[in-house]
Amino acid sequence: MSKFSKKRGKSLPPISTASLPDIIFILLFFFMVVTVMRDSELKLFVSTPFATELTKLENKSLVNFMYIGKPLEKYKSIYGTKPRLQLGDKISELRDIPIFLEKHRIKVPENQRTSISSSLRVDGGATMGIVQDVKTELRKSNQLKINYSAKRRAQE
């Protein structure tokens, strides 16, 4: 005991930084939880337009994502310059949509299958032709809940 008090009397002990890593780890875990890793590499240029009437997508596991836009510069030689559809991580054709939807559907518990929705992330510069075709295909597959992804625009 005498040793301890003696040391204290000499100078202030340095501030312990041992808890600093813990604090950083808490921050790290926070970011890991709130962010979602992009599960697929986007091969298209997609910049969604702005809108005001937005609804939040509630349950991520009940949502499948479809991207429509023009291929990125490095893929232009393979996929051309016209707007294309991407399902998962590959550029797809319209006829792949039913299989894609079914693949997602079987992963969802049976009692929640009616609330599956499709999120369409469409580039603002894309033309309606392909969007319309995708919509028709979705209607044929009886996937009627869709969400046009958009960014929030400040209301004047």
Partner: protein
């Protein structure tokens, strides 16, 4: 010799100072590689698929608010050219018809908005138009909710919401697009 003694005393303690740096590196790695997903959008319920075209000719003309968007992103609303900015006000006037005019909808429940676009229309324009139409409906519902219950539509109970929804149902019918415009370039 006293120096070595003090060194020996600290030898069994791992220096945790660099641990923070390692954690910071991990943190920055996650900050850079992840994106906060923009998970908002305009919710739309598509009509079930049927091979027959819906017949709107039997509807009264006064109840139909037709919006046409052509391949050069111009709007034709009930035969008149219009800007997207004016669409919301016009649509609201059409649906609610406050002055009971002969050429606007009989009641909000009878009003039908018919939206038709071209295959060459820009998605941005299309979504802008759709957004305005939906905004017109939600503003009307909000106003009715304020008048009736003194609360915003979103804060009403489910029963009250259904009541207003029945009074002002949102009917936006989309016709098959025309194909005059150039697609994708």
């Amino acid at each position: 010799m006293g120096k070595t003694k003090s060194r020996e005393r600290f030898a069994n303690e791992i220096n945790a100072g660099s641990m923070a740096d390692i954690a910071f590196l991990l943190l920055f790695f996650f900050l850079v590689t992840t994106q906060i997903l923009e998970d908002k959008g305009i919710l739309v319920k598509l009509p079930p698929w049927s091979n027959e075209e819906p017949d709107i000719t039997r509807l009264k003309t006064r109840n139909v608010f037709s919006v046409l968007v052509n391949a050069s992103n111009q709007l034709l609303v009930r035969g008149e050219q219009m800007e997207v900015e004016d669409l919301r006000i016009k649509a609201k006037e059409f649906i609610s018809n406050p002055q009971k005019r002969e050429d606007l909808a009989e009641t909000p429940a009878n009003a039908i908005i018919s939206l038709k676009n071209d295959r060459g229309t820009n998605y941005k324009t299309y979504l802008g138009v759709y957004n305005e139409l939906q905004a017109a409906y939600s503003e009307l519902r909000n106003e009715t909710a304020q008048k009736r219950f003194g609360k915003e539509y979103d804060r009403l109970s489910n029963d009250q919401k259904t009541k207003i929804r029945n009074e002002i149902p949102m009917v936006i019918s989309e016709a098959e697009p025309t194909a005059f415009g150039e697609e994708g370039n």
